[in-house]
Amino acid sequence: MAVRVRIPVLMRNLTGGESQVTAEGRTVAEVFSDLDRRFPGVKERVYDEEGKLRRFINVYVNEKDIREMQGEETPLADGDEVAIVPAIAGGGPKDRSSASIDR
């Protein structure tokens, strides 16, 4: 099964800057394995040390949370879209120390 995978900005350094890649797999887990073969480091980003999906990273298949389906075993069909969406917290006031980056 060939599916499209949306890569969040924070993981695009792994995919050479690509925001969307195609991957093979019958399930979400297989797609992550395929991605990790081609873009080493993907699994480390999405799985924790115990091999579970990180709790601050959500995975959606065709806009539906895989936790509402069969998790990583959620079956995929040709042309499905898998989106990886990490929590982000920015937006606020404090970046005084960014001055140290700017320097």
Binding site: L10, R45, E68, I88, G90, P93, S98
Partner: protein, 283 residues
């Protein structure tokens, strides 16, 4: 009858023309009290549009002072405001725009000890904070107090926004059960942020707030809007209430406010290293 002056009728005429607003809706906006947490990238556009819309009382929480590096996106503040408290700079900007709005500055950091007293005074809360610890604290407090919370986060070219209506849809913890460990997700100061994404997301927050107050349309409740500005894409994903959610689920385990000790601020090289290892955002 409505208590509008002639100037107010003119000022809000383009609102009043809308069937979803009208005089009744404009009066609701005038009577509304909105708390904006953070006078930064998100809080700036949100506050501007809410003040322009005639929200009667706008509270703004921020303990920081304006820095030169803020001005690329935090449009409440001007070059000459560098070094002044953000809440004061914000008050000046909003009162200049609309003298009919009462701006209440709170120059302190939101914490577990003050959040409940603060949000009690307000109808809608807008989350424009820059860190996960305050984000989860605000979510938990709003769930406990039954206050609607319009949440958004931005980083680099990406934005997320959702409206949390306790009891009616998922809370932030239903969607993201736990905050990431320190360093896993970089902050704006580490990873950068394109100014205009703050404008888009903060403006959506203002729009959600206005809809909540008017009781019109459909809010982003049970839906997460994901914006990829680099690609020019808006997508939405569904979000459900989690019956096992520790704060809004059937048997909540979080019944008292807790504050995570998460450092999103740069903590020297260690944090940078962790970022590179876990979040990979360094470059």
């Amino acid at each position: 009858m409505f208590a509008f002056t002639e100037d107010e009728i003119v000022r809000y005429s383009r609102h009043i023309l809308l069937p979803e607003v009208g005089g009744v809706g404009q009066q609701k906006l005038k009577e509304a009290r909105v708390l904006i947490v953070g006078a930064g990238g998100l809080g700036s556009p949100a506050a501007f549009y809410l003040a322009a819309a005639g929200i009667g009382t706008i509270g703004i929480v921020d303990d920081d002072v304006v820095d030169l590096s803020n001005l690329q996106r935090q449009i409440l503040h001007r070059t000459q405001d560098v070094g002044t408290p953000k809440v004061e700079s914000a008050r000046r900007a909003l009162e200049d725009l609309n003298p009919g709005v009462k701006v209440v500055p709170y120059r302190f950091r939101l914490d577990a000890g003050n959040v409940m007293d603060l949000i009690r005074e307000y109808d809608v809360i807008v989350d424009g904070v820059d860190n996960f610890a305050t984000r989860y604290l605000l979510n938990d407090a709003c769930v406990m107090a039954g206050k609607p919370l319009v949440d958004a986060g931005i980083l680099r070219w990406d934005g997320l926004v959702m409206t949390i209506r306790p009891g009616e849809g998922p809370c932030y913890r239903c969607v993201f059960p736990e905050p990431p460990p320190p360093g896993a997700i970089p902050s704006c100061q580490e990873a950068g942020i394109i100014g205009a994404i703050a404008g888009i997301m903060g403006t959506i927050q203002a729009l959600e707030t206005v809809k909540l107050i008017l009781g019109v349309g459909e809010t982003l409740t049970g839906r997460l809007l994901v914006v990829d500005a680099l690609e020019g894409r808006f997508r939405q994903v569904t979000a459900r209430r989690d019956p096992g959610c520790p704060v809004c689920g059937e048997n909540p385990t979080i019944t008292q406010l807790v504050e995570y000790d998460l450092a999103c601020d740069i903590r020297g090289n260690g944090a940078g290293d962790r970022t590179a290892a876990a979040g990979g955002a360094a470059n």
